[in-house]
């Protein structure tokens, strides 16, 4: 095994050296090209191009790769989660969101310093993550989940800003995809000293981190303050990430892959791990970038390096998944479910109250609205034809809400993890990928085409989830991680598409945002039928849903075939999610939030839990749909976005209380 790391590093180094050598032997003598690094010949185009664009780009990739690798390693080490990485903790999306806000509402901030704005955004996001997980002493799982929620939350807000200002934000999309084009030495001069200092500080913490690696309690007994260690190391990781993100944009995957590869090639001690992953990170990013620069013609810009690495990263993550051991996750699972175990007794009236609130909501929201002449009440205006537009949307919102709530309840009970949801396990992202493929391959821009594409995408995602999790008996954590990988792939593809500035991405954004807009009266009948069939099946499975949360051993003792029931329930969840996603888009949080609220209301038995969360989900969706149409009238804010914004707030509040 000693031999393997060395050969891997040799191959990597050799390919980078080869590409550098090739580039330097083009157009001029090798020596001339090499000296252009220090002393360019100001009369030669080639020399100037090398000096001002190629060399700085090479150094930027080396520095950024190393910084991201160290940041990833620190996060993975502290959180003891091999899938933690700078992008999963929300730093990048926080930076991106703050840049968007500044561009639109405070351009003077950008003139002051773009990096500073991004840096502040990244740091504030991390601050929120810390605040959310503070009460659980920055427990690894809670930190990762907070990061995930913030990622989704900023994602929803950013999409709202984007569909309203796409032209103005076009430049930011390029930044978001991580293009590494350089036109001088400013970035290198800015990054190099900062990154070097931070990496040196990180090396000081190798020893305490080694103790932490042994065992948490061991580290504690040896006098290492866990919380302090976590804050400092995560802080370092965030600073490293923020500097990189602020100057060159979002570069996925390196922070995840470099430490993972290091582990895979058999480096286990911490100090060599630091050195090797730094090396691998730097060379991996450089190699990718050099290859992309060599792509013929204009393809090199169509494929920004940051997004390209992220797209490469997703398959790697999926490949790594079966190799992961989950021992560190086992105890956190119980921690998460703890709060919802207490169930106070509630009378049956609650359900009647909830049901009537759906009906009253439906009545109010379909009759009260802003129109051409301000607020109007349909019974006074007698403008009945308007209902033709309103009713299908509201009905679709109710149905989608109900389906997502059912799916969420099933998956949360199935996995015993209150953070699981159909959005999180990747089915929604699969649907979105299918739609992107259909729109941009030029196959079809029609609605049917998009639906078929979405369906195929979703089925592929479900196939992948089943394929990867069948062997492990559909272990909840692995299912979640599969989802994280699929979502990462979707994010990468989406940012490549948006960076290209193709006006078709308008349509894509509108759809991805999730809206009941396209629902027609004709579509309502099949939608209603499907909803009733799927939800009834859900109710038929209520015994499984009561037993499975008790744990695998007890379930088996009670005569349930755990693997098979999990698989069947997963298929049901997929069916529900696909149908709902095609109506309200890939992201809404409803599947996550409705089961939660139902639990909080005190319904813990499967059947009641299902009913209550369906009612809660429908009401929330109904409200989101109505609010989306009123709040920025005449702009029609997509239902899914409104639901995510409301839902995200609730989830953050829930995390604080956890």
């Amino acid at each position: 095994m000693r031999f393997f790391p060395i050969s891997f590093i040799t191959i990597l180094t050799a390919s980078v050296a080869l590409l550098i050598g090739w580039q330097l032997s083009l157009n001029d003598t090798f020596i001339h090209n090499l000296t252009s690094l220090i002393q360019p010949d100001w009369l030669s185009d080639n020399s100037i191009k090398l000096h001002l664009t190629w060399w700085p780009r090479l150094f930027t990739t080396l520095i950024c790769g190393a910084a991201l690798a160290i940041a990833g390693l620190l996060m993975q080490q502290v959180l003891r989660n091999p899938l933690a990485s700078p992008t999963t903790l929300g730093v990048a999306s926080g930076a991106s969101f703050s840049l968007m806000m500044a561009t639109l509402y405070a351009p003077w901030l950008i003139e002051l310093s773009q990096s500073l704005v991004a840096l502040a955004g990244g740091l504030i996001t991390m601050g929120i993550v810390f605040a959310l997980s503070w009460r659980r002493a920055l427990s690894p799982t809670i930190v990762v989940i907070s990061g995930l929620i913030l990622n989704l939350y900023f994602g929803a807000f950013s999409s709202v800003l984007l569909i309203m200002n796409q032209e103005k934000l076009a430049g930011l999309m390029i930044w978001g995809a991580g293009s590494l084009v350089q036109t001088g030495w400013e970035n290198v001069a800015y990054l190099a000293p900062r990154i070097i200092v931070l990496i040196l500080i990180a090396f000081l913490f190798v020893k305490p981190l080694t103790l932490l690696q042994l065992s948490e309690s061991g580290a504690k007994s040896l006098g290492v303050s866990l919380a302090k260690l976590r804050v400092i190391c995560l802080g370092l990781a965030v600073l490293l990430t923020s500097f990189v993100v602020a100057t060159v944009g979002i570069i996925g995957f390196i922070g995840l892959a470099a430490p993972a590869i290091t582990r895979l090639i058999g480096v286990h001690r911490l100090l060599p791990k630091f050195l090797v992953s730094m090396f691998i990170g730097a060379f991996l990013l450089t190699l990718t970038d050099l290859l992309i620069q060599r792509l013929p013609g204009l393809m090199s810009i169509m494929l920004p390096t940051g997004a390209a690495t992220a797209a490469l990263g997703a398959p790697l993550m999926l490949w790594l998944l079966p190799k992961l051991t989950m021992r560190s996750q086992a105890h956190t699972e119980t921690v998460l479910t703890r709060h919802s175990e207490q169930g106070r007794y509630l009378s049956k009236y609650t359900i009647w109250i909830a049901l009537s609130s759906v009906l009253i909501g439906f009545f109010v929201f379909s009759s009260l609205s802003i129109g051409n002449h301000g607020w109007s009440w349909i019974f006074t205006t007698k403008d009945w034809p308007v209902l033709e537009w309103r009713l299908p949307r509201l009905l679709a919102a109710i149905l989608a809400g109900a389906m997502l709530a059912t799916a969420g309840t099933i998956i949360q009970r199935l996995s015993g993890n209150p953070m699981a949801s159909p959005e999180v396990i990747g089915i929604s992202s699969g649907t979105a990928l299918g739609v992107i493929a259909v729109l941009f391959s030029g196959l079809s821009a029609s609605l049917t085409g998009m639906y078929v594409g979405g369906l195929i995408g979703a089925l592929c995602a479900v196939g992948l989830i089943i394929l990867l999790n069948r062997k492990t008996g559909f272990q909840p954590e692995k299912m979640l991680l599969t989802g994280v990988a699929i979502t990462a792939l979707m994010g990468a593809v989406q940012s490549i598409v948006l960076a290209g500035g193709d006006p078709r991405s308008y349509q894509l954004l509108g759809w991805l945002a999730g809206t009941t807009y396209y629902v027609t009266t004709d579509a309502l009948i099949p939608l209603t039928t499907i909803t009733f069939i799927f939800i009834s099946i859900g109710f038929l499975c209520h015994r499984w849903l009561d037993i499975l949360p008790l744990g695998e051993a007890s379930a088996r003792a009670l005569g349930v075939n755990v693997s098979r029931s999990r698989m069947l329930l997963l298929l049901l969840v997929s069916g529900l999610t696909v149908s709902a996603t095609l109506v309200v888009g890939p992201l809404s949080f409803i599947g996550l939030m409705a089961p939660h609220l139902a639990r909080l209301l005190g319904f813990s038995r499967a059947k009641e839990h299902l009913i209550a969360s369906i009612l809660v989900g429908s009401t929330l969706m109904l409200f989101s749909d109505w609010l989306g149409r009123q709040i920025l009238y005449p702009q029609d804010i997509p239902t899914g976005m409104v639901a995510s914004i409301i839902g995200g707030l609730y989830l953050m509040w829930g995390l604080i209380r956890l």
Partner: protein, 295 residues
């Protein structure tokens, strides 16, 4: 020469007058007046130039920021986002004809419940030329019974462009027309772009010969501009912070120096426009170039 010009002008006025007269007769024949709207800014721009007052349009704030002219009539209502125009509002406005471009074709099933939808393509590969723009304008003219206005718009624009061509110095090098996305990336416009049509019409060439997309641009890092020689034209708006970055950017300075001409900036026009934007860009371009000559 001067006299010719006056008679030209007179005959133009006469033509426009005639056109209005003709269209009045046509409209009188119709039982209901046309109530049209378009989701697409390029179509909105052309409709207004044809003298049609659309009853509605989408995302007016965006139009005002990016297309600017011709100005939206005060009677025109805003129906919100282009990706999802507000259907309730639109149906209350009772249009009887809706125009869209293929980009928004997913809206057809919904919009066709409100009024017949006409899908008109302008931006696609190999369609953007002066002839393509004329066909597009005539098509809209046919659809809104403003054939005469369409002809008048085309001929007055052609005359205007010919005038402008006369003001351009003969030795002007080909134009490298770019729009900055951020300090290091530009959309560079070439084949199939409205900007190139405008430049060609006033007797200039586009320096960018590489492939472009259906909207006539390639998105490139500015390092890719090194091998293209030409008068640099920066089309505004510049994103925030870009101006000051460019002043410090050695590579950009080098590019400008190498082109042998100072980089010129042109006020914003809609990059994906039709005849009105083309003429406006040609005017702004000519002004900028002739101001440079004077200095």
């Amino acid at each position: 020469m001067k006299k010719d010009f006056i008679t030209m002008k007179h005959s133009m006025i006469l033509m426009v007058f005639f056109a209005f007269f003709a269209s009045n007769i046509l409209q009188a024949e119709q039982t209901t007046p046309l109530r049209v709207m378009s989701i697409d800014w390029t179509q909105t721009e052309t409709l207004i130039a044809l003298g049609v007052k659309p009853i509605a349009m989408a995302q007016q704030s965006g139009y005002d920021a990016w297309v600017k002219e011709p100005a939206i009539p005060t009677t025109t209502a805003d129906v919100g986002l282009r990706t999802q125009p507000n259907l309730e509002r639109l149906s209350e406005l009772k249009p009887n004809k809706i125009f869209i471009s293929p980009m928004f074709s997913s809206l057809i099933p919904k919009l066709s419940h409100i009024a017949p939808v006409t899908n008109i393509t302008l931006y696609k590969q190999d369609n953007i030329s002066w002839n393509g723009l004329k066909t597009f304008t005539r098509r809209l003219g046919d659809e809104t019974n403003t054939q005469a206005e369409a002809e008048a718009l085309i001929s007055s624009s052609e005359k205007k462009l010919a005038d402008l061509a006369g003001q351009i110095a003969k030795d002007t090098p080909p134009l490298l027309m770019v729009q900055f996305m951020d300090s290091r990336h530009v959309r560079v416009f070439g084949a199939n772009s409205m900007y190139k049509v405008a430049a060609n019409k006033v007797g200039l060439e586009s320096a960018w010969k590489e492939e472009t997309n259906a909207w006539g641009f390639s998105l490139v890092g500015i390092d890719k501009l090194m091998n293209t020689q030409g008068q640099i034209i920066i089309i505004k708006p510049l994103p925030v912070g870009v101006e000051q970055n460019l002043q410090q950017d050695l590579f950009w300075q080098y590019l400008v120096k190498k082109s042998g001409q100072p980089a010129l900036t042109v006020a914003p026009t809609w990059s994906f426009g039709a005849i009105p934007s083309t003429v406006r860009f040609a005017e702004l371009l000519t002004n900028t170039l002739s101001n440079k000559e004077k200095q």
